[in-house]
Amino acid sequence: MQMNDTIVHVQDLCKFFRTFKRREGVLGAVKDLFVREQRLVKAVDHVSFDIARGEMVGYIGPNGAGKSTTIKMLTGILVPTEGEVQVNNFVPHRDRKHYTRSIGVVFGQRTQLWWDIAVIESFKLLRRIYDVSERDFDARMALFNDILRLNDFLHTPVRKLSLGERMRCDLAASLLHNPPLLFLDEPTIGLDVVAKESIREFLKTINPEFQTTILLTTHDLADIEELCRRIMIIDQGKILFDGSLEEIKRRLGKINQITLYLKDRSEQAKIAALNASLALLAQTLSAGAAKQMSANGLHLEQIDDLKCRIVYDRRLIPTEEILRQIVNSLEVRDILIEEESIEEIVKKIYTEGREAFVGERA
């Protein structure tokens, strides 16, 4: 059963497509004329999740993972092959006309505005479509203007807008009717840093102010880090991870990196000694614990005369211990400690799939 504050409920959702294989060459083409080989593509394969009212969830995955297909089922565009979808107490594809009143949608790759007419004309038409009163319309436009600064190009046809301007307009258009739920499919795709920032700023404002639930897909993990407490990772139609950003970092981000900036060249001579003592430390701490990491989970490398880098598995060797060894061994100007970036972690999941979670410790 659904909880009261659950706004999106998805259970064992599937979407399969039938595609035709094309055979090679002239002979293949002739064969294809008569008998075509069918192939079943499982774009979304038994996906389940719930989203609570007011949540901002990041939905990520490599190209072709099934993100867009999921969004299209959630927005009522596609009919699921199997499974259950319930959003805002609607089954999206069954009651599309009523359901779409309660959602806002932005597809970063396309615009929902009318291409050849001025932006404001599109907004006026949308105002009619969604039955927004003139007062609400003016109030919301004023708010959108504040953050997205639309005034400069409201009278320009959409086809003449830059991608950043267009995306801001699309975002405003999707929220004209103040929907409780917003779907964003790659809203920052192809945008420059400033445009991305203004869109993130906007989402950060409306989410708490209107209690708007937001599900967004993206390839830019900075979007997720700035906006979403929860992420879902999908690959080959299946959900691989569903949890918080901290959780995934804790579970999979095991590598830390320390960069040392030596005080002067004379310190170089002491590196070998540091290396030896670190190796000893690593051996004692990680004896028998995990052999999967090469060199006992620690690696020291000299970058140039004044700089060297230590990469280690922080689950095996406490950072504190390494720092103590460093301070004992040589004099430094500066020390930089970095944890594995979310990009690195996600890259690992994309390339290894489920395998990425196998080696992890609870």
Partner: protein
């Protein structure tokens, strides 16, 4: 109801404004229609050299028939089918589906806006140019002209609904350019645009009586020429209206069953 009407009037307005962007196209459009009429005029003049009357038409009536057929075509045609085919192929159809609108009505309303725009930018200038050059007869009476006008508006709705049905086929077939081409030629032939329906063999005429196509061009022009008289005008208009409603409903059903089969992969 009031809201509903306002929404779709707004769609018509957008269609009207939208097409403004392409107004240059209409200067060449006037020339195209003029050339079409010229070609058919000379063909018919050649045919009429040996006889004064063919199937109840004299040369002047025939010239009027052909010229008027093309003139009203510039009003009643719509690009719903091509637009839908493009939208499905490019996946833009999603953008329509995320809005709480009746897809068919919104497309028809938008086309109506475009047609109203064309009435001034294409139909009227083409009519003036053609009437100045070729010997055309005027409408049989004011009443006949009114009937002709109403009939042409109904033609618009018949064509729009046929185009919607054809466009919806794109959902299942993906590429429907061939289908649209076939539809284009069938409509030209069986709407009575190329030759009056009375020129067809009896057997074909009988079949066509049970189909909507001849009500697109043949019926309005016959009303103009006064070949349909008195209460018959009302009857013909009624039949047109019934066809318009029937095809609209078929389109609605066809859309509802087709949209469930929509598949857009990627993007």
């Amino acid at each position: 109801m009031k809201n509903w009407l306002q929404t779709y009037l707004e769609f018509a307005r957008v269609g009207f404004v939208n097409i403004l962007a392409y107004r240059l196209r209409y200067y060449t459009g006037v020339i195209t229609y003029f050339i079409n009429v010229t070609v058919y005029y000379f063909i018919w003049r050649a045919i009429f050299t040996n006889s004064d009357h063919i199937e109840g038409f004299n040369l002047k009536q025939m010239t009027t028939y052909v010229a008027l057929g093309w003139i009203i075509r510039s009003f009643y045609f719509s690009t719903i089918d091509q637009d839908m085919a493009n939208d499905v192929m490019e996946g833009k159809i999603s953008m329509t589906l995320i809005k709480p609108i009746h897809v068919q009505w919104s497309l028809v309303a938008q086309s109506l806006g475009e047609s109203c725009f064309r009435l001034f930018m294409l139909t009227a200038p083409a009519a003036v140019v053609i009437a100045l050059v070729f010997p055309m007869s005027g409408p049989s009476s004011a009443l006949h002209f009114a009937g002709f006008f109403a009939s042409t508006v109904l033609s618009f709705f018949i064509v729009a609904s046929i185009n919607f049905i054809a466009g919806t086929c794109a959902i299942r077939l993906k590429s429907i350019l061939g289908l649209l081409r076939a539809k284009y030629f069938l409509l030209e032939l069986f709407s009575g645009l190329l030759i009056p329906m009375t020129f067809f063999p009896q057997s074909i005429q009988k079949v066509m009586n049970y189909l909507p196509f001849q009500h697109i061009s043949f019926t309005p022009v016959l009303i103009y020429l006064g070949k349909i008289q008195g209460p018959k005008i009302w009857e013909e208009l009624g039949i047109q209206l019934l066809w318009a409603v029937a095809i609209f409903l078929i389109g609605q059903w066809w859309w509802a069953t087709s949209i469930r089969k929509l598949s857009i992969q990627g993007g």
